[in-house]
Symmetry: C2
Subunit: 381 residues, 2 copies
């Protein structure tokens, strides 16, 4: 519970958000339909919509409703013409940026290959800053106004500080001012990829997104909201115990999922996922066996995850997406056999549709969400 009282201005701010949310969530609506949906009167909705129109976040899109009697209403829908946000990502082997408008249409996307393993944060952030500036300029040349930015990193984040990104070799990096004087949020890659899946992929409201990168992370979405845990460290699926006293993991533990299904374990001597897929398609036994082993381990870890997190479905993303045909059966079987009678049926297992872009899109989407959640504040209404 926010402990601040509601005053006249916050009542209106809230109602602006409620109306905008209704427009966003269930498509274009007439003012009359918005009134019914929000419980406000037509008069109030008209006044709120007028403000939203002026701010450029919604637009009128001609008359609607053929077939029924009475005066047709004017549909009010989200406008992608003006407001946009910037998503950024640092990963092991690339930097990425994208610009997304208020309708969550992707307007720009840029990727720079890079080798960021054990790199100098200042140097990489310099490159990222240049990429951000360039992307913002391109967006503004197209008439968009970039209102905020978010950055996805492959590591743990607390209070806006990157605590630890083992594969980058970064620790306690304070990121700021990446995008000029835009407000910048920063979050874990798996979390933002989960949000990417929510807003740009399947658009289901409840799922566990399993992010296979060098490490394995996961982001849980319940009712359209990301679950972060107490310190924002929830969802470390890669270090769920699969075999209590199995081989050592780089985390210091033993028998973690990552040991069996991390990229290193999957690839073995191969140098890319593409190469692995080729071998799998050719039916090479070593490759098939690595996948079977990973699938079995994933099934075990996901069983524990389902019992603890109760996800609506399980979405395999990152490198697990191209490997889905070979992982599907062992994971599903493992889940089915282990979950037993505890619940009706195991959560459906599906593959992510947005692949490698999930995190950077989720980052941009996060900022869009904040604007939609409080347009009065974000837009100065």
């Amino acid at each position: 519970m926010s402990s601040r009282g509601v005053r006249h201005d916050s009542m209106r701010a809230r109602n602006l958000a409620v109306v905008l949310d209704a427009i966003h969530r269930t498509g274009p609506h007439t003012r009359a339909a918005l009134a019914e949906r929000t419980g406000l009167t037509k008069t109030t909705v008209s006044s709120l919509v007028a403000d939203l129109l002026e701010a450029g976040v919604v637009s009128e899109r001609g008359a609607v409703r053929g077939g029924e009697r009475g005066r047709p209403g004017v549909a009010v829908s989200l406008s992608g013409q003006r407001v946009a946000t910037l998503g950024l990502e640092v990963n092991i082997d690339y930097l990425a940026a994208c610009v997304v408008d208020l309708t969550r249409a992707v307007r720009l996307r840029r990727t720079r290959p890079a080798d960021n393993r054990n790199s100098d944060p200042a140097e990489i952030l310099g490159l990222l800053r240049a990429l951000a500036r360039e992307t913002i300029e391109a967006a503004e040349a197209g008439g968009l106004r970039v209102m905020g930015a978010a950055l996805a990193v492959p590591g743990t984040v607390e209070d806006g500080v990157l605590r630890s990104a083992p594969h980058l070799g970064w620790r306690d990096v304070r990121v700021a001012d990446l995008a000029g004087d835009l407000p910048l949020a920063i979050d874990n890659e798996a979390n933002l990829a989960a949000l990417g899946e929510l807003w740009f992929g399947s658009r289901e409201a409840d799922f566990l997104y399993v992010s296979g990168e060098i490490g394995i992370g996961a982001g849980l979405v319940v009712g359209g909201a990301l679950f972060r845990g107490t310190y924002g460290l929830a969802g470390e699926l890669g270090h769920v115990v699969v075999v209590p006293d199995g081989p050592a993991c780089r985390c210091g533990g033993r028998g973690c999922l990552e040991v069996y299904a991390g990229q290193d374990a999957l690839l073995g001597p191969l140098e890319s996922v593409t190469a692995l897929v080729e071998r799998l398609e050719a039916g090479e036994p070593r490759a098939l066996e690595a996948c079977a082993r990973a699938g079995h381990a994933l099934g075990v870890a996901l069983t524990s995850a389902v019992h603890l997190l109760d996800p609506g479905r399980i979405v395999l993303g990152g490198v697990f997406a191209p490997l889905f045909p070979w992982l599907d059966a062992p994971v599903k079987d493992g889940l089915g056999a282990r979950l037993g009678q505890m619940r009706g049926a195991p959560p459906p297992l599906v593959v992510s549709g947005i692949g490698a872009d999930a995190a950077v899109l989720g980052a941009a989407g996060l900022v869009i969400q904040r604007i939609l959640a409080d347009p009065a504040q974000a837009l100065g209404l």
Copy 2:
């Protein structure tokens, strides 16, 4: 986001809740302090407090603030004189009821020993209904008004229906009208025990409550709110996989935590936890070994739980509470060794202070919380 707009009446309802919450959360306050804390004006707060006084949920408790200058304020604090709620519990070997007032002081507590294993739901619910009626009458004789009730059950609950309580042998039981025409909530025993720990035990806002009963459940509290998952089935710690192809569990899986640390595994041939504690105190090797084995398994399962849920601390409750001296070391060692460098330090491991009453208290507390969260609705203001 609730999709309903804010109207004048909901603005006031919200402000009543905000003021009441401030009084509840940070102790008695003067009107002036409440105004500062909530951001409302003194005038508004006075008016809101007047309504709350009339409803009997707060009372004025004389002047406060010696030492400082100026007119002393009148402290407004929660009143336990009028509003109360009923907590109920069905467990394997007892029925319980309690009445808690608005300040969360326990006013009445009743327990009936019973053997509810594989019982007839109608019969047991009849006994519970009698216990509820009797308890409500006693409370009202004491001048309290019981405003609502909640029931804790050892099983899974969906949409207010008890889906499955394996140890009771109940399936798909619709509970209603247990307490006359009082509104009745129903929830899982581990969830409500976690809330009991939150409100009547340590009062920390972030922890994982581990409930050792016949089975093993857990309830995660983050920021003072219970995490329930998608279908309300989260926290099934007892079926986290400890050994991938270990012994069969009654759930249909293999090597679940319950197999190693459930009450049956702990007790072996003994018939009560008390008996086990006696053996442990006497240093009997078989008992010590059972505890060590359970502690090791708990350490493994909790490692996975910490990675997935990111709890602020871990509270051992239920039968694990009396066994804490023998579980502490193996669990802590297991967590410490396995969590490795992934986080600063493992979450603190502590014992619950409220023992067997956690669930029934949590049930009553849940209803109190609902009244505090929306006093206007609950009290007809």
